[in-house]
């Protein structure tokens, strides 16, 4: 990270975009209290992340890129377990209903499809009814149906008042879901605004009159066309 600074408003969906290695996940993990912050500070809901990590963890929900869980435990057992970790006893069936998995209550994580696994990860992140939900590449590897389904879920959660911070490689996703976007490259934030303003500013004139510029054009205009790992 190289001196980044940004703020996320309560109730918005904030997207972190960037090529591989730009520092999206590291930024997220610093906010989640998983990575040490060696310079500067971060605070969530008025709580300093470095000094009050324990309290911050109580008010956030996190979906990690790797979503593996203990073997031989059913989804509802895992949700009860995660509830206990927050000293809460959520109703696992209610949580599974929110992510459309109520018929999988006694299934094991290994039996789920990619999209179901992502939705289950979100259910796990909701056990403590978090104020802020962090999603790290939630739709990577999903088919279009599963992707749209997950977008709807994120929208619904946001409508219920939850602040959502997500990272993505999917420009369509950023444009569709996010109220504001930060584009990162090499540990720096190189642009931050609403999708519309970013398009106006960086891709208002599409290369050919017939083509309409979108966030992907913005992204490529800013980070260049070369392949990253």
């Amino acid at each position: 990270m190289d001196g980044i600074s940004f703020s996320i408003k309560t109730g918005e969906i904030y997207g972190l975009l960037g090529p591989n290695g730009a520092g999206k996940t590291s930024t997220l993990e610093m906010l989640e209290g998983l990575n040490d912050i060696d310079g500067g500070s971060a605070s969530i809901d008025g709580l300093d992340v470095s000094s009050r990590t324990h309290e911050v963890k109580k008010i956030i929900g996190v979906q990690l890129q790797a979503n593996e869980y203990f073997d031989r435990m059913s989804l509802s057992e895992l949700l009860v377990l995660f509830g206990k970790l927050y000293a809460q006893s959520p109703n696992p069936i209610e949580l599974l209903k929110r992510v459309n998995l109520e018929d999988k209550a006694s299934a094991k994580p290994a039996e789920l499809s990619g999209g179901q696994k992502q939705r289950f990860s979100i259910a796990c992140a909701l056990v403590n009814d978090p104020k802020v939900l962090f999603l790290d590449e939630p739709t990577t590897g999903l088919d279009p149906q599963a992707k749209r389904n997950l977008w709807q879920l994120v929208r619904d959660l946001n409508d219920s008042g939850m602040t959502i911070v997500l990272t993505t490689h999917n420009m369509e996703e950023a444009e569709y879901l996010c109220d504001r976007i930060a584009i990162m490259d090499q540990g720096k934030i190189i642009a931050e605004d609403t999708p519309q303003n970013l398009i106006l500013e960086h891709a208002s004139e599409p290369p050919k009159a017939k083509l309409h510029g979108n966030i992907e054009d913005v992204f490529l205009a800013l980070t260049g066309h070369e392949l990253r790992d």
């Binding site: 989640e32 963890k57 435990m73």
Partner: protein, 362 residues
């Protein structure tokens, strides 16, 4: 002391274990095989297979070889030097004695040659001594001399004790160490590699909660395994335990605690799944040799003894052996209790302090 969260987490780990049928079968199979091996290897030692070549024609030699043949310690085969030498090389004989041609006069000392295979070198000393003793008593018979004295072995503490009684507490402690390190060290590395630990530590859980929960659940599993082994040993091998079973279980619990904590530490030390195996081997194997599992530490080189006594396995072996062989109680205060206390503190401290839940693979 144990929070509801730690308790719940422990039941989760127990559930995970109980649903793993394969590992249950194998954990129960191990004590069965262990007891079986001792059941069949116990009992009177086999006679030493002794080849005898009589090159003398004298009556004295004939008498002598008859007496050797009657000795219950030996299983004697007579034959020619060439034939028996080949058998010795093939391993069909353990040793070979050759009565020389000039073996005729009881008044003139003569040399009996003992041939051994170098592969038997470990036993050579014992065989030579046994043979020498037998030869002396045979000589007495021939010369009709009464022995001046006889040696009667008597245990100062007047208890009938066999090697297996000495061995069992040692083996028990060694198994405890292996079960524990496999139960904590290997599990932690696997959970970390798959990101399961990272997911857990996104929540307000603390390393202490996780460690205490694994210790609780593994304690239940290990006490069950140890009970099976102990039950079989008591019934089938007729092991005698001088102290109380309660003390013995108490000591097992303390040992389990120490070794599980060491396992956590090794699991945090190992960055990958490949690294954990050599790290564990490097920790457990020297202890198997140095900690008095098979023979007392006092039989080691003097310079090694203080180090050997300080090893965690030595402390647990000494504790179990004290209760099992000497009838001490768990509450008996001695150097072993101090060692146990120190190792419990050190192991728990390093387990919690150096616990790594983040992915360290890259």
């Amino acid at each position: 002391m144990i929070t509801p969260l730690q308790f719940h987490l422990a039941t989760v780990f127990l559930k995970i274990f109980l649903r793993d049928r394969q590992s249950i079968v194998f954990t129960l199979l191990f004590p069965l095989i262990f007891t079986g091996v001792f059941l069949f290897s116990d009992g009177e030692p086999d006679p030493i297979k002794l080849g005898l070549v009589n090159q003398s024609q004298s009556t004295l030699a004939a008498n002598f070889s008859d007496l050797v043949a009657q000795e219950p310690l030996f299983d004697v085969t007579e034959g020619t030097l060439v034939q028996l030498k080949q058998e010795l090389i093939n391993g069909d004989q353990t040793a070979l004695i050759v009565i020389p041609t000039n073996f005729e006069d009881a008044e003139e000392p003569s040399t009996i040659t003992l041939l051994l295979d170098a592969a038997q070198v470990r036993q050579a000393d014992a065989i030579a001594k046994t043979l020498n003793n037998s030869l002396i008593s045979i000589e007495r018979d021939i010369r009709e001399i009464e022995p001046m004295f006889s040696l009667e072995v008597e245990d100062v503490q007047a208890r009938p004790q066999r090697y297996i009684d000495f061995l069992l507490p040692g083996i028990l402690a060694y198994m405890l160490m292996n079960l524990c390190i496999a139960g904590s060290g290997f599990n932690v590395v696997e959970y970390r590699r798959r990101g399961i630990l990272k997911r857990l530590f996104v929540t307000p859980i603390q390393a202490k909660d996780f460690i205490v929960a694994i210790i609780l659940s593994r304690m239940v599993i290990i006490l069950t395994q140890i009970s099976v082994i102990l039950g079989l040993a008591l019934m089938l091998l007729e092991i005698k335990i001088a102290g109380s079973l309660l003390s013995l279980y108490g000591m097992v619990i303390l040992g389990t605690f120490i070794f599980l904590c060491i396992g956590f530490f090794l699991g945090s030390l190992a960055k990958t799944q490949e690294a954990i195996r050599p790290i564990v081997a490097l920790t457990t194997f020297p202890q198997l040799i140095l900690s008095g599992v098979f023979f007392p530490i006092t039989s080691l080189h003097e310079l090694l003894q203080p180090i050997a006594h300080a090893l965690p396995l030595s402390v647990v072996v000494a504790g179990l052996r004290g209760i099992s062989n000497d009838g001490t109680s768990l509450l008996t205060f001695n150097s072993t209790s101090i060692g146990l206390g120190i190792w419990m503190a050190i192991s728990f401290f390093v387990a919690v302090k150096y616990f790594v839940w983040k992915e360290v693979a890259n």
